[in-house]
């Protein structure tokens, strides 16, 4: 267990909680995990909520002033009935279910090493700067949202409702994730129904407003509702992370991935696809996370198309996506999937293109979780051997001591690398040998050439060396001497031939 924890620290230490509890940290939380962050910042949080209120009040006032000046003689606006009743109902339901399993799970893994604890203490208090940073973020989101809504007739109503709803959510953070999701989804649904009536069925128009609503709300709520403490999302993140690590030996051939990485453009697309799926974790808004998955999928299609020279079908795409996920081991994969499922605009997930790729990602994760020998065309024994690290597919099964020690997976890799190194050493020797050979060959050759030149010079006396000179006799000697005068190497040339007069 400890060796495994260390393994994580070595590879992705920057992703883990600074307190060393073993969960993932988040740059938005100064590198702490949700749990540690909450503990550290309970007071800061209260303060920030107050700041948010103040900001919202200020923005609202600005907004109202702007409206008052623009709509002085304007007609009455279509109103949207408040959501307050619905809000009350939701609030009553709150905090009924807090997942106690997580509570048991969390402290047990949270035994920071002395060094980690020391580092956490000695680092400057993160709270003030972070709270400023995140409120700058939400401030920005709010402004963009208001700018977007300004030209709309019911823009102010929409803003009011969204703001009120978002603020009410901040106080519901102890509510179970399903219920939080239910609240947000109901809000989306109600708002979009109203917008449909108002825009007389222009779906595109409604969708564009809903996109902005999602962006505004989720930017503000991200740290509250991403991987919330009440779920076991973090635990699942670690489980899939570990599972993918254990499957490092899975090859393209086993998955029947129709992609040939020998082709430069293909391997380029593969790298881009991996980068995109990793990138997903850095986005806050569900739509933006989905866009990363879509981009990743497009790169996969490109790789397949170049390899197969035909358009990719689902049977090509899914195995390739599985392969990409195995190679990328994207951070907080389960948390991201859960977050998108809970808080994305539902129509996007149901019928949109983004939804299709997202569904395939869910399939890829489910496949990876359940994968066994059969799904890779391996016998159960082979699968076990590879999973336990007692053998790896490229090498024949190792024998002796290495195969029964628990760290044999790493040992196997070390052996492999050593073999590679030995091979490299040999080849280097060969290259040196060849280089020496080449050197002596070159010396021999230049000696040879020198000798030949000498012998030629000896066998042909200077007089007969330049027979063409006789034909030059008719040209003007003045012109040729003028050219010759520029020649610095004149001294090395044989003396010019004198024109001779032949009788007859």
């Amino acid at each position: 267990m400890t060796s495994q924890r260390r393994g994580i620290h070595l590879d992705q230490s920057e992703l883990l909680c600074k307190k060393g509890c073993g969960f993932y940290g988040n740059t938005g939380w100064q590198g702490l995990c949700s749990k540690c962050w909450r503990e550290e910042n309970q007071r800061e949080k209260q303060k920030q909520i107050q700041e948010d209120w103040a900001l919202a009040e200020r923005l609202q006032k600005e907004e109202e002033e702007a409206y008052a000046s623009r709509h002085q003689k304007a007609q009455s606006q279509p109103t949207i009935t408040p959501f307050s009743k619905f809000e009350e109902r939701k609030t009553k339901e709150k905090s009924s279910k807090v997942n106690t399993v997580t509570k048991f799970f969390t402290p047990s893994t949270k035994t920071p090493s002395k060094k980690d604890a020391f580092e956490a203490q000695s680092s400057p208090s993160p709270s003030s700067s972070t709270s400023r940073h995140s409120s700058v973020d939400s401030d920005h989101a709010t402004r963009e949202f208001i700018d977007f809504l300004k030209p709309l007739k019911s823009g102010r109503e929409i803003f009011k409702q969204c703001r009120a709803f978002t603020e009410s959510m901040v106080y519901k953070r102890d509510m179970a994730a399903d219920e939080l999701s239910e609240c947000v989804q109901d809000f989306y649904q109600n708002l979009s129904d109203r917008l449909h009536t108002q825009f007389k069925g222009s779906s595109e128009h409604v969708e564009s407003v809903m996109d902005e609503v999602e962006k505004y709300m989720m930017t503000r709520l991200y740290k509250e509702v991403f991987c919330p403490e009440t779920t076991d999302d973090e635990k699942k993140d670690l489980a899939i992370q570990k599972r993918i690590r254990a499957l490092h030996w899975v090859t393209i051939e086993m998955l029947c991935v129709p992609v040939d990485e020998e082709i430069a453009e293909v391997s380029d697309s593969v790298v881009k696809a991996i980068t995109d799926v990793i990138e997903m974790d850095s986005k806050c808004v569900p739509k933006e996370k989905l866009a990363c998955i879509t981009l990743c999928s497009k790169h996969i299609f490109n790789a397949i198309k170049i390899t197969k020279k035909e358009a990719a079908s689902a049977d090509d795409f899914l195995p390739t996506l599985i392969y990409i996920v195995l190679k990328a081991n994207p951070p907080r994969l389960q948390s991201n999937i859960q977050y998108i499922t809970r808080f994305s605009n539902p129509s996007r997930l149901m019928t949109g293109e983004d939804g299709y790729y997202f569904t395939n990602l869910c399939c890829a994760v489910a496949f990876i979780e359940k994968l066994d020998g059969q799904s890779l065309n391996l016998s159960a024994e082979e699968f076990e051997l590879y999973m336990s690290g007692q053998a790896s597919p490229q090498r024949p099964q190792s024998t002796g001591a290495a195969s029964c020690s628990p760290g044999s997976s790493a040992l196997g890799q070390v052996h492999e690398r050593l073999d590679l190194l030995a091979g490299l050493g040999e080849r280097q020797e060969q290259v040196m040998e060849k280089a020496r050979q080449l050197e002596s060959d070159l010396i021999d050759w230049s000696d040879d050439v020198e000798q030949k030149v000498q012998s030629v010079l000896e066998s042909f006396p200077p007089e007969t060396q330049n027979p063409t000179a006789t034909t030059a006799s008719g040209t003007t000697p003045a012109a040729s001497s003028a050219i010759d005068s520029d020649n610095v190497e004149n001294e090395h040339l044989p003396p010019p031939l004198q024109p001779q007069v032949f009788a007859g």
Partner: protein, 217 residues
């Protein structure tokens, strides 16, 4: 289902394509959406998610057709693909008896998971190879009727029967959506999951992408 709207609204439908490998699922959608068959000169990047816009008796319909991975090792992932779909096109190859049995399995599974909300189409493809037919027309049609599905014959190669089957399917999905809309209008209360399509909790363990029960970690 929330995906289908009424009045002046545009309908958005999700249709999954199911069927054994090589029965011609991909050929069928490529023919329908891009009028291509075994095209050597490919301009299509992918054939796994295709859309088609239709106008049926003055109503706009956006059809999203989801290809599914048909290999046996991906069978368990079916529920993740077809949840929230309004229709399913179940394809078999008329020259392949096995592929028809597979369709029967899919029908059972779909009815179990999605009930009667989903419109089913059973499609016998490759009728240009009628001389090698191994599934009788009567058997296929009576089976379809017995499970409340519609049966069609098609050839992606000759472009036969494809427009008809999708058009028919769309009309049926519109009827289903309108019936649901009427129910809503009558004030019948809805469950949260039918109000919006995305299901958060899934009691079928194999259906949840996040089901951690089988992971070794």
């Amino acid at each position: 289902m929330a995906a289908g709207g009424t009045g002046g609204r545009t309908y958005s439908f999700k249709v999954v394509l199911l069927g054994e490998g090589c029965v011609g699922k991909t050929s069928l959608v490529l023919r329908y959406c891009e009028n291509k068959f075994n095209d050597k000169h490919i301009t299509t990047l992918q054939a796994s998610f295709l859309t088609k816009k239709l106008n049926i008796t003055g109503k706009r319909v956006n059809l999203a057709i989801w290809d599914t991975a048909g290999q046996e090792r991906f069978h368990a992932l079916g529920p993740i693909y077809y949840r929230d779909s309004n229709g399913a096109v179940l394809v078999y190859d008329i020259t392949d008896e096995d592929s028809f049995q597979k369709v029967k399995n899919w029908v059972k599974e779909l009815r179990k998971m999605l009930g009667n909300e989903i419109c089913l189409c059973i499609v016998g493809n490759k009728i240009d190879l009628d001389k090698d037919r191994h599934v009788s027309v009567e058997e296929a049609e009576s089976y379809a009727e017995s499970v409340g599905a519609k049966h069609y014959h098609s050839s992606a190669k000759l472009n036969k029967g494809i427009e008809e089957l999708f058009l028919d399917l769309c009309k049926r999905m519109m009827e289903t959506a309108q019936a649901e809309e009427r129910l809503k209008g009558n004030g019948a209360s809805q469950s949260a999951s039918s109000r919006r399509g995305v299901q958060i909790v899934d009691d079928e363990p194999q259906a949840t992408p996040a089901g951690g029960c089988c992971s070794s970690g």
